[in-house]
Amino acid sequence: MKKDTSHINSLENEAIYIMREVAAQFENPVLLFSGGKDSITLVRLAVKAFYPAKIPFPLMHIDTGHNFPETIEFRDRLVKELGLELIVRNVQDSIDEGKVKEESGRYASRNMLQTTTLLDAIEEFKFDACIGGARRDEEKARAKERIFSVRDDFGQWDEKNQRPELFDMLNGDIEHGQNVRVFPISNWTELDVWSYIEKENIEIPSIYFAHTRATFLRDGLIWSADDEVVFRDENEEVLERTVRFRTVGDMSCTAAVLSDAADIKTVVQEIRESTISERGARIDDKRSEAAMEKRKQQGYF
């Protein structure tokens, strides 16, 4: 039996429409690229939206310096293969310039620090639209997000005063200095993204598939012990485990899950049967119930 793909097709058509609105309504858009599955999906959608022309905007990676090496290798290869322009801005530079202070302790992460580097880069390049791979099903505050989400001169999100979005009509009118965050895959679920990756046969970094890794346990989550950026107490025992990552952020805030899913088909099956949400493995969201909302207000993407 042929797989029914009508649902994923309609999401794809919607996302392509949004990509084209961005290219048409803004002078200087950029696609925020983290190397994760959602931003890889965005790149695929952008390629499709403008074929046979090239994607009419660059990619930008806000590099925390704490990325999984597999992600960075993958990023560089993708950009080369597709002939895309990539801008990289480093959180380390913001730290060196004294704009942000590195966190310390066992829960230290550079995730929060990204916001400053991102806002500086938006100002530096005068980007008026930033395309991101956030989805409404990820998190409660994101469920309130618009497809075109206006940010003020300080990059801030005023969640209580959002523009209504009706039908397909996207209003991208902004004042000089403001910018719009655009979320073409707002209506996709985690499972939709994985199904699309499977259907389109999209290549993704190897850490999304099961592999053996030196890990340790903390707060019921599995952490990578390979790298010094992940803080580990002496008494936290390192063990080899077969794991994969469901979401790929900073090494310091992304936990692994036990999994034998070594190919895309079994990954899709695993997601379908999972009883834990995707962000359940993101320690940055567990800081407080409103962690994401607070970060978004400050300009986090």
Binding site: H7, E21, F50, R163, F167, N171, I174, S277
Partner: protein, 415 residues
Amino acid sequence: MEVLKIATAGSVDDGKSTLIGRILYDTKSLTTDKLEAIEKTSKQRGYDYLDFSLATDGLVAEREQGITIDVAHIYFSTAKKSYIIADTPGHVEYTRNMVTGASTSQASIILIDARKGVIEQTNRHFFINNLLRIKDVVVAINKMDLVDYSEDVYNKIKADFEALMSKRDYQDQKITFIPVSALKGDNVVNKTDKMPWYKGETLLEHLEKIDKADIFNIGTPRFPVQYVIRPKTEEFHDFRGYAGKVYGGNLSVGDDIVVLPSQTKSKIKDIYFYDEKYETASRRSSVTITLEDDINVSRGDMIVKENDLPTIEKQFTANVCWMDSTQLTAGKKYVVQHGINKVLAKVDAIHHKINPDYSGIEEDVNGLGMNDIASVSFKLNKPVFYDAFKNHRTNGSFIIIDSQSNNTVGAGFIQ
């Protein structure tokens, strides 16, 4: 798999968020970590039940005040369908939020508190659902547990609502009444034994049976050109593709078409979706079209079939839902965004205000305030290509943008 988009409507405290949380819980759509968070917070607050509204009220202020402030989108699936629920707030900015949520929905759920019955807000919710021509409306009479699951209460509310139905404009709208308790889970996903007098479906059973009533499946093909694709590469040196989304009907290779506003005629040469060519572009697909003739087409133009033109005018009259705290008055200028096309518009006349509680119209109106609905005429600085909303959902609607604040301040449905 089918997708059903549903909007919810109800007044403050009617239990919308609780209902949605209940659906998520009973369909086992809440993941363990989310459920644990709800259990923890419910316990902290000293509740002796699980507060499912915590599953959807995402903003700090919402959780503090126990109300929904902004439209939230919730996703879940059953074996049969994928669902997207737009959870719309019931307080002050209800018209704005409801119109927003309902604009992309195929079905809607109107909640009524069984203790309060049909109140003025109910009239408004129904009016807006009818104005937006939502095909399938469920009237969920909630909190039945607080009225001893009384059949008389249910029948009384049903009769009151039916009185409203006779006044509606869009008579083909299908309406279904279901008595529920979102808190206890009666008739939401699972049948209850508390109301043996009710023989109908549970809420989810009903939703599962709704046909794929495609709300956009009305009218004839309209292809607004979003973006012109000119690769200028060696391989595609002379390629000129028109990217856009097909609305209303299909377009096929060889179709005789007209480009608006120039009224230039041509034929569809190729239809691309990414690197593949197709014979037909179906409704809602984002394709790229090339034409037989080398003519000038740019963003904002519209490609339509030769024998099937929309109205081409520099004015229109529409039912307008006003969503801003500033007043709309005659003579004021705005930007009207019709599809992707932006034009300057001047308010020519406010004909009358429509009372969304079905109490009639008000004439001699000077201005419109937040939540007002009125019949308004606009003069435009250039022609737009439109259909009446009842014939074409996409090509018959527009938004109004305040050029000073850049905010979307209203929505219109062309008459």
